[in-house]
C-alpha cells in the first residue's frame, strides 16, 4: 500500500466512524423518545458519549485525510466542484451536529438534576427528550451525511 492507499483507507474509516456516531445517536434518540425517568435518560447519555468520540474522530479524520487526498492525488483537486460540495456539506454537518448536541445537552443536565433529587421525573424532562428542533437537527445531520456519501461515490463533475 502506498501513501494514497493509506489516505483512502483512513479517510473511509473516518467516514465510517462519523456514520456510526449518527446511527448510535439515532438509536439513543429513538429509545429515549418516550422515557422520562432521569436515571434511564442518564444511562442513554452515557452511551451517547461513545457517539461523541466517534463523531469527533470521524469529523477530524474525514476533513484531514480528505483534503490531504485531494492535494495528493493527481486526478483530483481541492477546487473540483464535488470536493467543494463535500467541504460545504461537511461544514453544515458540523453545525447541525453542534446545535443538536447543545439541545440534547439541556436534557442531560435536567436529567442529572432530577436524578440527584430522588430520580423522580417531571414533564419538562420528557419535553426536552422530545424536542422537535433537536430532532430536526439530527435528521438534517443524517441527510447531510447521506449527501456526503452520494457526493463521494458519484463525484459529480469529476
Amino acid at each position: 500500500m502506498d501513501l494514497t492507499d493509506w489516505l483512502i483507507a483512513l479517510h473511509v474509516l473516518a467516514a465510517f466512524s462519523l456514520v456510526a456516531a449518527l446511527v448510535l445517536f439515532s438509536v439513543v434518540i429513538a429509545i429515549g423518545w418516550g422515557r422520562d425517568r432521569p436515571s434511564e435518560i442518564l444511562s442513554l447519555f452515557r452511551v451517547s458519549r461513545v457517539g461523541d468520540v466517534l463523531f469527533a474522530v470521524g469529523a477530524i479524520g474525514t476533513i484531514l485525510f480528505g483534503v490531504w487526498l485531494a492535494i495528493q492525488m493527481d486526478e483530483y483537486g481541492i477546487f473540483d466542484g464535488w470536493v467543494i460540495a463535500a467541504l460545504v456539506l461537511w461544514a453544515l454537518l458540523m453545525e447541525t451536529g453542534r446545535r443538536e448536541g447543545k439541545l440534547y445537552g439541556r436534557s442531560r443536565d435536567r436529567a442529572r438534576e432530577l436524578a440527584g433529587a430522588g430520580d423522580v421525573s417531571d414533564g419538562g424532562l420528557l419535553e426536552l427528550q422530545r424536542s422537535q428542533p433537536a430532532l430536526l437537527f439530527h435528521v438534517a445531520s443524517c441527510v447531510l451525511a447521506l449527501l456526503l456519501i452520494l457526493d463521494m461515490i458519484w463525484k459529480p463533475g469529476a
Partner: protein, 159 residues
C-alpha cells in the same frame, strides 16, 4: 488501485452505495449494541441491567441485522457488476471481505440470540443471564474488529 477507483463506471455506483451504506450502518449498530453491553457489564440495579441488555438486543436486531443483509446484498451486486466471478484468482482484499462478512454474520447471529435470551432473563429477574449478554458482547466485539479490518482492507486494497 486508486486509479481504478477514479475510472469506475457510473453503473457501479448504486450497488457500491448499497454495500457501503449497509456496512456503515452495520458498524454503527454493532458499536451501539456494544456500548450498551459494556455499560451494563458492571454490576447494576436489576432494572437498569435489564434495560441496557434489552437496548443492546434491539440495536443488534433492528439495526445491525438488517444492515448486514443490505451490506451483503450490495456486496454480491457490486461483485457481479465488476465481473469478479470471471477472475481466476481474487485479490487479497476481496478474500478478506468474503471471510469476514460471512464469519461476522455468524458471530452477529449468535450474538443476537444470546443478547435476546439474556435480556429476557434479566427482565424476568432471573440469575446468571448477564453471562449470556457478556458472551454476546465478546462476539459483537470480534465481529466489530473484523469489520473494521475489512473496511481498511476494502478501501486501501492491500496486495
Amino acid at each position: 488501485m486508486s486509479v481504478l477507483a477514479v475510472i469506475r463506471p457510473d453503473d457501479w455506483n448504486f450497488p457500491l452505495l448499497v454495500h457501503v451504506f449497509g456496512a456503515m450502518v452495520l458498524i454503527g449498530g454493532l458499536v451501539t449494541a456494544l456500548a450498551f453491553q459494556l455499560i451494563g457489564w458492571r454490576p447494576q440495579e436489576p432494572a437498569a441491567a435489564a434495560s441496557l441488555a434489552r437496548w443492546s438486543f434491539w440495536s443488534l436486531l433492528f439495526v445491525a441485522f438488517p444492515a448486514w443483509w443490505v451490506m451483503r446484498i450490495g456486496a454480491q451486486w457490486i461483485y457481479s457488476k465488476e465481473n469478479w466471478d470471471s477472475v481466476s484468482e481474487e485479490p487479497t482484499w476481496l478474500g478478506i471481505g468474503w471471510i469476514t462478512s460471512e464469519g461476522g454474520g455468524v458471530f452477529l447471529l449468535v450474538g443476537i440470540i444470546l443478547a435476546g435470551v439474556g435480556a429476557r432473563r434479566l427482565g424476568r429477574g432471573g440469575g446468571g443471564s448477564s453471562t449470556l449478554v457478556r458472551i454476546s458482547a465478546i462476539l459483537v466485539t470480534i465481529a466489530l474488529v473484523a469489520y473494521v479490518i475489512t473496511t481498511w482492507a476494502m478501501s486501501g486494497k492491500p496486495a
